[in-house]
């Protein structure tokens, strides 16, 4: 399998992961899919970064996912991954929106490349715009801390992917790393507060 094919598969899985996080409300599944999302970002970002630098994003992403998983586990909020849940009408609605967002990012990428980001590849633009749109939609429609943080992380991943194709700066990479880790910390803080207030 060529590297290009691998990247295309990674982009498809990436958008699928973001869609699952938008549609499904199953905490352990969401965290697992978030981790997988970072693996796909790593594969796509290899186009513009050396493997060593790209690995930073992968490691940070996996750490973020692990932090959130640990906090959910210690709060006793993890259900079995295989517990069956019926699709709700909300999930069907969000699924339709997810399809629409994938379609928008796929169709808009060539035009955006032509008019704004000529140096970025179409695949990278599709992936980054898709992530940003999914993140925005999730941030705009959900107030539950875990999903909001996942939305913000998705949005930032999309932006980091886009910005990586435009400019490289070690300082900025360090800032993005700090932002992602701090966001996971803030998310964990919110989840704990949420659990405490429910228990109290």
């Amino acid at each position: 399998m060529s590297f290009e094919t691998l990247r295309i598969i990674a982009a498809v899985i990436l958008l699928l992961c973001a869609a699952v996080n938008l549609v499904r409300r199953h905490w352990v599944l969401n965290v697992a899919v978030l981790a997988l999302q970072y693996v796909c970002v790593f594969l796509i970002i290899l186009e513009v970064r050396t493997p060593l630098l790209a690995a930073i994003k992968l490691i940070v992403g996996l750490m973020v996912s692990l932090m959130i998983y640990q906090i959910l586990r210690s709060s006793g909020l993890i259900d079995s991954l295989f517990s069956r849940q019926r699709l709700t009408s909300g999930e069907v609605f969000r699924g339709t929106i997810a399809l629409l967002l994938v379609l928008i990012s796929h169709l808009a990428a060539p035009k955006v490349k032509l008019s704004i980001f000529p140096q970025s590849s179409e695949l990278l633009l599709t992936a980054s715009m898709g992530l940003m749109l999914f993140g925005l939609f999730q941030m705009g429609t959900i107030t539950e801390p875990l999903y909001l943080v996942i939305g913000m992380l998705t949005f930032l991943s999309g932006f980091e992917l886009l910005y990586a194709s435009l400019e490289f700066s070690r300082v900025l990479e360090a800032f993005f790393t700090a932002i992602n880790l701090l966001l996971a910390l803030v998310g964990s803080f919110f989840i704990v507060k949420d659990v405490e207030s429910r228990a109290g």
Binding site: M152, L166, S169, L182, F189
Partner: protein, 475 residues
């Protein structure tokens, strides 16, 4: 040794040290307050050539600190503003002893101050957007109320500020090397729109302000006052930096009138929404909004002297915020049954006359009432704004009228007792400690002195924005 080491890395080191002693609340408050005062005083008196001799030895400080091929530059002309930021940190930490805000307040407040300084010092300055995001994330730990889940205001704040980050970073990339491009080219317009949207989200200008009252209603008044005073003051200066460094931006036709209109509309929205408020806790949000409106109007009028308004208003505004936050926090400590609603404030003047008067006076001070500290700056702004364009005058008047209406409603609530109150309890009851009465009177007196003798108290701050030589050429 370099200036960024002193005013960025040293405070961060102190902040990390404070993490270790955060359980010893009094000690950490004192360390944070005194170190902030020390940093403020040092920045205020530091020589302009960054050279000085002490004990027979000569010291020279570099203004640049290199890190990963990028630099942090803190020139002598920026130190006046740095001293203000640390002074604000000192003021707020000083009150931390009295109120149970958060055990982490000293640590985080000092870190936030150092990060704001670094945001103003980092080169390329667009990277400050990432630092602002870090500050927002740290601030959410403070503004989330204790023992309660994260409110929708906090979440909305986090989201709004995060969305601003790509706008600012992309604007810089988009217009890199644009100096030679013709003005009003598509690229310039695109870059300008990105910058304006980014700042609109950061500064919570109308209509992106919705999280402000939600946050103010839930957070501790002191914490809210501190976080947003630092944020708005630093972001105004950051906006000036954009205008100063990007010639294409400041030369773009219509950019300054656009800023003026954004300012006037935010001011108007703040004034009108304040007039409809019935929760006193939330009013600080509208004060933040109106002050942002004034500042944007001032920046829009920079060529007519708006810069002087900004420079003169930093200190009196901070003192008024502090007085308001302190008084409200103190009222809620003395009378826990006061939940901020007008009903709970009824007749409070008889129980806490000095606190009630302090609430009203701090608002009047922010409104720009003659003789108060911010009056010289506000008078300058009203005169320039109203004299320049006719439509501004009624809109500014409406905004001031809205805020005045709220003050009158608050005054009525404070002095009007409950209808079924027995006549014996209508007498003034003394529930305020003497030292608090002295403190509140001293604050008001200081504000009056600043207003009456601005040349003594405010003129030293005229140099605060001296770093922006392109935008405000020295006379």
């Amino acid at each position: 040794m370099s200036t960024p080491t002193i005013w960025i890395f040293l405070p961060i080191a102190v902040s990390i040290l404070l993490m270790a002693v955060h359980r010893l609340h009094k000690l950490s408050v004192w360390i944070a307050a005194l170190s902030s005062l020390l940093f403020a005083a040092a920045a205020f008196i530091f020589p302009q050539d960054l050279d000085f001799s002490m004990f027979g030895r000569h010291f020279h400080f570099d203004s640049t600190f290199m890190i990963l091929n990028r630099s942090l530059i803190l020139s002598a002309s920026q130190l006046r503003f740095v001293s203000l930021l640390y002074f604000f940190s000192f003021l707020w930490n000083l009150t931390g002893l009295q109120f149970s805000t958060s055990r982490w307040f000293p640590t985080i407040s000092l870190a936030i101050t150092a990060l704001w300084v670094s945001a103003l010092a980092v080169e390329p300055f667009l990277y400050a957007a990432a630092i602002v995001e870090l500050i927002v994330l740290i601030s959410t730990l403070l503004i989330t109320p204790r023992g309660e889940p994260a409110s929708s205001g906090v979440l909305r704040y986090l989201v709004t500020q995060t969305i601003a980050l790509p706008f600012i970073l992309l604007s810089g990339w988009m217009v890199a090397g644009i100096e030679s491009a013709p003005i009003a080219s598509a690229l310039v317009l695109r870059g300008t729109i990105l910058i304006l949207i980014g700042f609109a989200l950061w500064l919570a200008v109308f209509p992106f302000h919705t999280f402000l009252p939600m946050l103010a209603g839930k957070s501790h008044p002191l914490v809210f006052g501190f976080v947003f005073l630092m944020q708005q003051s630093s972001l105004w200066v950051f906006l000036l930096k954009f205008l100063d460094q990007f010639a294409w931006l400041r030369n773009l036709e219509g950019i300054f009138p656009a800023l003026q209109w954004i300012g006037v509309l935010t001011l108007l929205a703040g004034g009108i929404l304040a007039s409809l408020q019935s929760k006193v806790n939330r009013i600080l949000a509208y004060l933040v909004m109106t002050e942002t409106g004034c500042a944007l109007l001032g920046i829009g009028l920079i060529a007519q002297g708006g810069g002087a308004f900004l420079a003169l208003s930093f200190l009196p505004r901070a003192l008024a915020y502090w007085q308001w936050s302190y008084t409200l926090s103190s009222i809620q400590k003395i009378a826990p049954e006061v939940d901020g609603s007008f009903d709970s404030l009824r007749g409070l003047f008889r129980r806490l006359p000095f606190h009630s008067a302090s609430l009203i006076l701090s608002m009047l001070s922010l409104l720009g009432l003659p003789a108060f500290g911010i009056f010289p700056a506000k008078r300058m702004l009203w005169n320039i704004g109203a004299g320049l364009t006719l439509p501004y005058t009624p809109l500014l008047s409406l905004a001031v009228a809205g805020m005045s209406l709220f003050i009158l409603r608050l005054l009525r609530a404070l002095v009007t007792p409950e209808p079924n109150t027995p006549s014996s309890s209508l007498l003034i009851q003394r529930e305020e400690p003497a030292w608090q009465i002295i403190l509140l009177c001293a604050l008001t007196l200081f504000s009056l002195l600043m207003g009456i003798f601005p040349h003594l108290f405010l003129n030293p701050f005229m140099e605060t924005l001296g770093a922006f030589s392109e935008l405000m050429p020295p006379n």
